[in-house]
């Protein structure tokens, strides 16, 4: 995903021009029909939009409405008035303030800002985990000569990781490694700041989002990689 596009997320200008683009909502219910969450605890995208219309973003961010949305964008896809509901959700989550950010996300973000990954995993441990998996891989037929290219400079591709692969689902690291190996790709895995998941996107916090992007750009510069592979 292109970082500049992401960072300009608060551009809420809709086709109706003028002030608040949520105002153009017709109340038609397309969004509510589309959203699988409609109906639980009174959840309804029309409610989100109505609060947005009235400028009650903070209230929205503090309510469960903002956090029950998966930002899947199905509502928006159908909206005949092109109301950007998910943009509004991110805005609201940000304005709702840190106290409303669900614990796991808040914690992850804190960790990320401190250590460079959402798990707070020290680089040493990371190195140990991935090397271990790499060794396992060499035991499979066809991959005997596999070597994990950690911090290799001038590689064509830089690979960031989803923290869950490092955390619990180590086995799943292998699939891509196999493909890259079979294709004879020139690639590298950063030994530190390998996190590819940006939770600032969920919380709506721009500074977190930016820090995430900076990390990756930093890595690319450091290792002089030409391309980037991103888990999401």
């Amino acid at each position: 995903m292109n970082s500049t596009e992401v960072l300009s997320h608060t551009d809420l200008s809709g086709p109706g021009g003028g002030g608040n683009p949520a105002q153009i909502c017709l109340g038609c219910g397309t969004c509510a029909s589309a959203c699988p969450m409609t109906g639980i605890e009174g959840f309804d995208p029309r409610r989100i939009v109505r609060l947005g219309q009235l400028g009650r973003f903070e209230e929205l961010g503090e309510s469960s409405l903002a956090w029950l949305c998966t930002m899947c964008g199905r509502c928006q896809e159908g909206c005949p008035m092109d109301v950007r509901i998910t943009d509004m959700i991110r805005e609201a989550r940000d304005l709702g303030g840190e106290k409303t950010v669900p614990q796991a996300i808040g914690k992850g973000i804190e960790m990320f800002m401190e250590t460079g990954n959402n798990l707070g995993l020290p680089d040493e441990d990371f190195g140990f985990i991935v090397e271990d998996v790499a060794e396992e891989l060499t035991e499979e037929p066809g991959f005997e000569d596999f070597v994990l290219p950690v911090d290799k400079e001038d590689a064509r591709l830089l690979f960031t990781l989803h923290n869950k692969l490092v955390n619990t689902q180590n086995e799943d690291l292998k699939h891509w490694w196999k493909i890259l190996h079979a294709a004879g790709e020139s690639w590298t895995l950063p030994g530190s700041r390998w996190e590819g998941v940006n939770w600032g996107f969920f919380s709506g916090q721009d500074q977190v989002l930016k820090a995430g992007v900076d990390t990756i750009v930093g890595n690319m510069e450091r290792l002089r990689s030409r391309g980037l592979m991103y888990p999401e």
Binding site: M1, N2, E5, P36, M37, G39, I40, E41, F43, S64, W67, L68, C69, T70, M71, C72, G73, R74, Q76, E77, G78, T86, I89, P102, Q103, A104, I105, G108, P141, G142, F143, L157, H162, K164, L165, D172, K174, H175, W176, K178, I179, A182, A183, G184, E185, V197, W199, F201, F202, S203, M229, Y230, P231, E232
Partner: protein
């Protein structure tokens, strides 16, 4: 990611065997690569993963609805990380119905969140016997090494 796989397969940097996976599969379009990418960048990755699947296995199908109108797995937007478990289950009923309706034994997804969430929801409410695999996992399994 899709582009890379397509590149490898179409230039024959990797070779695949379509007969290894026998299970009937169904493909899930993640919101971010499909609908949202289409809205944001003008291109949704709808065609590529389907092409890749065609190279990897014989039997697969689409969910109804699919592509831009597909249902989210229910774990997006950070919801997976929240304590709203009941709500997530409610939300995901749509996805589970879709999976059941497809009569597939294997769900293929190209996204970590979707993978995790669909797995969790199948375990919690659906037929837990249905497998969930990454798209690249399917590719890796079909890899012909010589």
């Amino acid at each position: 990611m899709f582009d890379l796989l397509v590149e490898y397969i179409s230039t024959q940097r990797i070779r695949l065997d379509r007969d290894r996976i026998k299970k009937k599969a169904v493909y899930h379009d993640p919101c971010n690569y499909g609908r949202k990418s289409e809205a944001l960048f003008g291109h949704g990755y709808f065609h590529e993963p389907r092409w890749i699947l065609n190279q990897c296995l014989e039997h697969w199908t689409d969910m109804q609805p699919n592509r831009a109108r597909q249902y989210c797995c229910g774990g997006g937007g950070g919801l997976m990380l929240t304590p709203y478990e009941e709500q997530r289950k409610y939300y995901s009923r749509r996805k589970i119905e879709q999976i059941k309706n497809s009569r597939a034994e294997l769900v293929v997804v190209p996204c970590h969140s979707c993978h995790g969430h669909i797995r969790a929801m199948l375990d919690a409410q659906g037929p837990a016997s249905i497998e969930v695999k990454y798209l690249w996992e399917v590719v890796a399994e079909a890899l012909v090494m010589d």
